[in-house]
Symmetry: D2
Subunit: 451 residues, 4 copies
Amino acid sequence: MAPTTPRPVITVDVWKKPWEQEKPLHNRWHPEIPHVAQVVEGEVFRVETVDFSGGAIKDNDSAEDIKFCDASIAHYLSGPIRIIDPSGAPARPGDLLAVEILDLGALAGNEWGFTASFDRENGGSFLTDHFPNATKAIWYFEGIFAYSPHIPGVRFPGLIHPGLIGTAPSKELLDIWNAREASLVNGSVQPPTLCDILHQRPLANLPTPKGSLLGLVEKGTANWERIADEAARTIPGRENGGNCDIKNLSKGSKVYLPVFIEGANLSMGDMHFSQGDGEISFCGAIEMSGFLVLKCEIIRDGMAKYLTPMGPTLLHVNPIFEIGPVEPRFSEWLVFEGISVDESGRQHYLDSSVAFKRAVLNAIDYLFKFGYSKEQSYLLLSCCPCEARLSSIVDPPNAVVTLAIPTAIFDQDIRPQKHGPSAGPRVMRKPDVLKCSYDGSLPVTKNLASV
Amino acid sequence: MAPTTPRPVITVDVWKKPWEQEKPLHNRWHPEIPHVAQVVEGEVFRVETVDFSGGAIKDNDSAEDIKFCDASIAHYLSGPIRIIDPSGAPARPGDLLAVEILDLGALAGNEWGFTASFDRENGGSFLTDHFPNATKAIWYFEGIFAYSPHIPGVRFPGLIHPGLIGTAPSKELLDIWNAREASLVNGSVQPPTLCDILHQRPLANLPTPKGSLLGLVEKGTANWERIADEAARTIPGRENGGNCDIKNLSKGSKVYLPVFIEGANLSMGDMHFSQGDGEISFCGAIEMSGFLVLKCEIIRDGMAKYLTPMGPTLLHVNPIFEIGPVEPRFSEWLVFEGISVDESGRQHYLDSSVAFKRAVLNAIDYLFKFGYSKEQSYLLLSCCPCEARLSSIVDPPNAVVTLAIPTAIFDQDIRPQKHGPSAGPRVMRKPDVLKCSYDGSLPVTKNLASV
Amino acid sequence: MAPTTPRPVITVDVWKKPWEQEKPLHNRWHPEIPHVAQVVEGEVFRVETVDFSGGAIKDNDSAEDIKFCDASIAHYLSGPIRIIDPSGAPARPGDLLAVEILDLGALAGNEWGFTASFDRENGGSFLTDHFPNATKAIWYFEGIFAYSPHIPGVRFPGLIHPGLIGTAPSKELLDIWNAREASLVNGSVQPPTLCDILHQRPLANLPTPKGSLLGLVEKGTANWERIADEAARTIPGRENGGNCDIKNLSKGSKVYLPVFIEGANLSMGDMHFSQGDGEISFCGAIEMSGFLVLKCEIIRDGMAKYLTPMGPTLLHVNPIFEIGPVEPRFSEWLVFEGISVDESGRQHYLDSSVAFKRAVLNAIDYLFKFGYSKEQSYLLLSCCPCEARLSSIVDPPNAVVTLAIPTAIFDQDIRPQKHGPSAGPRVMRKPDVLKCSYDGSLPVTKNLASV
Amino acid sequence: MAPTTPRPVITVDVWKKPWEQEKPLHNRWHPEIPHVAQVVEGEVFRVETVDFSGGAIKDNDSAEDIKFCDASIAHYLSGPIRIIDPSGAPARPGDLLAVEILDLGALAGNEWGFTASFDRENGGSFLTDHFPNATKAIWYFEGIFAYSPHIPGVRFPGLIHPGLIGTAPSKELLDIWNAREASLVNGSVQPPTLCDILHQRPLANLPTPKGSLLGLVEKGTANWERIADEAARTIPGRENGGNCDIKNLSKGSKVYLPVFIEGANLSMGDMHFSQGDGEISFCGAIEMSGFLVLKCEIIRDGMAKYLTPMGPTLLHVNPIFEIGPVEPRFSEWLVFEGISVDESGRQHYLDSSVAFKRAVLNAIDYLFKFGYSKEQSYLLLSCCPCEARLSSIVDPPNAVVTLAIPTAIFDQDIRPQKHGPSAGPRVMRKPDVLKCSYDGSLPVTKNLASV
């Protein structure tokens, strides 16, 4: 074998439950979750991951699994992996860990994924007030391409990436996280804006033993209970990287992660075949199991060399990323704009979330004219390679945010024409509800087969 | 002459004041500002514009002109231009006006621009709490490239665009604007977040006769007074397009603008040689005078065909844009991330503005290690072709926003290295305050000539 | 004015004859043609050029001007320009002259160009055996785009470049050129292949006073006669650069030209709005007048530092080029292949010219099925941004050459489909002879107005 | 399993000999080689291939295996695969077979490849007169990247493709091939140019039983002998596709292959991790074993719909290719030029092979100044993603060919600088002979380990 044949350090069996995997998975951040593998700086190694739900979401036409999905299980991660240098010395707090993503993809035999939105009662999504019901679309992978039987007429190459990659926090950092996120829930800091409250989404996801999987920590012990009580949820991105959902962190990219504990304890999961900027439908990329081929480098004292902490602690930093030369590029884009006036006509002050919401709604309404139901477009814009840009953030009172969609992903010309989308003899796709939406009262809705 | 030689419909003389131009300029939105020119659908025509300040900001090493700049003069626009079809029928309310940007550039003899941040007392900018003083950098254009004597070591091709392009509002739409923006100032809608208040920036810029220039409306008449009292300021982007500051709206792009009054009354200005997403320093692109070569198409009833109004009025829509195949592309990017925890360590709820602020601060601190003063980086990130993306907007409590910088614009390798930016014999640029910053008490600070 | 306002060093008046221009033009290479202007290293300057024919080819529907065009007039160049460093020392033999192309474009009022093929009796073109008659298509420029009334259904952005840019040869180098090109004509070296002979094209274009324009050399003198007898024609590219016809030498590019005489004596012309690799129809780009904005740098002794002469003389070198980050890029291409078996079925040995010929013929036949006449496609493939690649040159007996066409330049989908280009209700464009082709016996052929 | 899980139709074991594989391989083109597998239109399937040599070239530091490689074994192919439609009807002569390349890559455990040049006595390469000895470089794959211990300082992403893919010829087409290639060897058609003769390379590779592997044809039978006598070698590309060596035929591409016999009988092999245009060193890509994931579509009567035969037979056509949106793109290129004057100073007539040779030699000499031995550069330019363009083919007597190299593949800045590559304190790599070159008399030469 070539010296660059990746050493498989973590493998998974997607037919087994997360807690049955040979190298135990975890779904919480805590410094005391023991590493399950060790790699040497410079070594080429392979890590496999289950999808974020650990197989709870199935390849079928019903959104029932999404509707009743227990969010406390997110995200099942592979790791932690301890990183050492060739002399055997581990990565140390204060180092930077450069992780190069050499390759990644779907697991053989499991070439599919799903995009979904959670029910309003169950965590919701960015547009919960418009899309209160659970919806789900299945995507099948034909090599680098994905298509969906639930969203016909689109096909695009994936920009595969790990939605979640990070190092373990130190106890000190973990305490900071827990305190500051609790401050939101207990109201000791500024309340979220009215716009967000309307979304009726959780303010934060605080530690809870419910749903916890803690790797090699022995279940049933007091230690397990203590760690489960303390361990941070993996939902948000934080100082350690984590659930960044950066759609361009694909083949040839590099992540520079701060190291907070000895060995770094690198974990990853939540792989995406493709994601749109924002990941608006929450479970919003094309979620999949998969593999990564990686190589690590330790930059000793790299945090002092390259990062600058802010605030009352030296730990408040963020990772850096490097995007390489191999990213797919589209040459033509249709761009939708939103300003910070919400859909009721109310003015907000430089609120880019409101502006983005408007841009997304504008795009959804536009695509409706080309035969896509609103549910279809909501899921599509969440997972296709569209770009969400903060175009202007400084012109009171309106933030301007744009959403750019590559036109080549459609099998029809979606650009505005002199005579409109309804002109001419072309048979339009009938707008239709998503095959697999689920509203809690009706059976699975009308099939799209006639489309 | 070829049939495609652009017909010059509006020319400017940059050595004259805005109110001295042959075709009078305007800096307010109002349906009764008469058109100064007329073009026929399909015709190739040329429009010249002064810079947003009408020449108030000078090519020199002092930021004093920015410090005392009167914001009520922004933005001096060329137009309105009435659009008719070949039969002579004007664009009508409900139509879409497709404006194709065939070419654009600097005016001959005026190949320079400026990037600046306003003083905190004078409107401020995105990071006013960090950069309270007025600063200014001059850029010189070498054909498609720009360089600055105030920010050495960078040079990049421009992605020239009009920061501002739009149609005139109807009286009904204007009234909506004025009412909704006043609601912010008079507190009748949700207050801005604490984070924004700290910025000490204006909540909105309401109509004011002060600084008004109203084109062909006769000055000194009651009519002028009435219109000046009603006319909307041009600072924010709105339903008519306006100050969108979309950095990719360059050569080969198309804007689909809603038409609200007969003739459409197209205006434009605030040209940028280059801008970063967000335009963070407010006066934050490379601001310049310039020319545009345009062609219009009227899509009759296009608003009904392609746009979907939201809210209590049929007027609440946004333009659509089409980006063409000729945009410059960079292959390698360094990406900074921010989460919605502010620099004091406080948690905010899915606030993408806070996350973006952190990403920008992270980038500024990083570039400091490579020899750039913080003021230099602030202006640079405001005007270079960097991309600000809403990476994740759905994972409570942290929004994740990324700022991607093309590495090729620097004359040094700014990527993290094993041995750090300070290792080796390389002579570092001395961090230094911006040559032209102005803090109101000191003379112009230390020169960068030795860099 | 900004320090980067280009200094106009050579201007032209396209309504005057080449010999009437204020700064006299030239159309031959000779060290004794005096410079007409001087620029300093680092200075930003502007040069205007007439089209290669000096206005002989007109904007009309007849190919008669091409049919009787005197090839001995090609190419009317602007220059020579003497280059000095800031101390006043000129560029010297052995230096490299780095010429950065900062900007370039069409002349105001002259936004059009032409693509043509010469008559077989008059120099011919790459496919003279298939296209023996003179043909001509006019292109109009809409800013960055070009369209042709003679080739409907295509529109594309230009990749504007000087077809010809070079330094003056020394007398020694000139003698080498004349001797080696004469050796072809007088048969003292290997004869061209049968394939080429069939083309019935000139073997070389040796010096001739006929048609010569020699700049400041005084006409009617013995000196003029001597120089005209010696001066090299500008048709082929040579060691000094010259007529390289490199389609990507556009905005932001750099040319590193060897310097053979004191001052370098830089000349340029033959500007192209766009060209396909190969420039197959000979007069085959979109030929135009235009301007260039340039900046020069002298790399002292650069020939020794960077170039390696071959053969019996130190002068036998070639320029180097640098392509910058702003080139338009297309994301989808249709690729035609040719092998070195000619269209009669005869085998040739690794002959990439034959293989390229076949690829071009395959593309022409393919486009015929989409409604383009063969003449239209011949001219189109000569001037649109298609890429001709030497894919395989080592597999006896077949060279493989590919011709890649960006699909986005067409207003129809030209990709192969399951049901073929003729299926369905779509009205095909009628294949038609080129509106402006001219065969010497017939009047201008059928108009395309009905297309 | 998802419906898009590729069905493995041909697997190989790289530790076995080509003739020991479960589905027998073949290395000749003949209509009577039986298919070894069958796939249905629309099915996603997987094919594995050995490297072209079937494992004869080893991962080591000696070029001895290349020096004595038996060229008659090239190329071991997987297939033929019979293609049928869902009704069971096979592809028929006259159809087009659209083969979409959904994915492809190296085989797990075999992540390495080699680039080599053959000895002059053994087939040679494009520059045999300059590089008469066998040389070899090993490349290791780190996911999408390759690096070589024999060519330090470069690393680049692969543009993986099958060097060879094609359908089986009919007997009629096979007879045409054999007759026309024999005509070169027996001198009945035009002799190759002097330039080529100097290369001392074979004029053609005619059928020979030596080295033949014929799949399911039973060895030792008269049938085997007859087929081996008739079957075409796979060295050159031909009407059926075959050894096209088109470097951009990578993920997301489509090949439209003519069908000559019932079932199409698709074969493929000679996989390349990366190749430069031209594949100059003959064994010149990064040669590897690998897998392809494919999907086929039958376009009934597609040859008549889309192809146009030339010459005396309806069979003389070439495939068409479609390049998709996911190709890696580099933004900066250094370009070398060659004209059709050979390195002895002799003039050739519009000979693009000579011009290309000069461009390659210029690039090799240039890179020598940056520390690369000529052997290293020869192999590097053969396999890295450089582009060889026919820039001008119409300006007698000089063809102009350019070779563009992406600068990002080097770990040093290879662009010309004011002060030259030798200026400053930078330690140059010592030019050195290739570690693994083999000249037949010396032991393996000096190691590069000190570099």
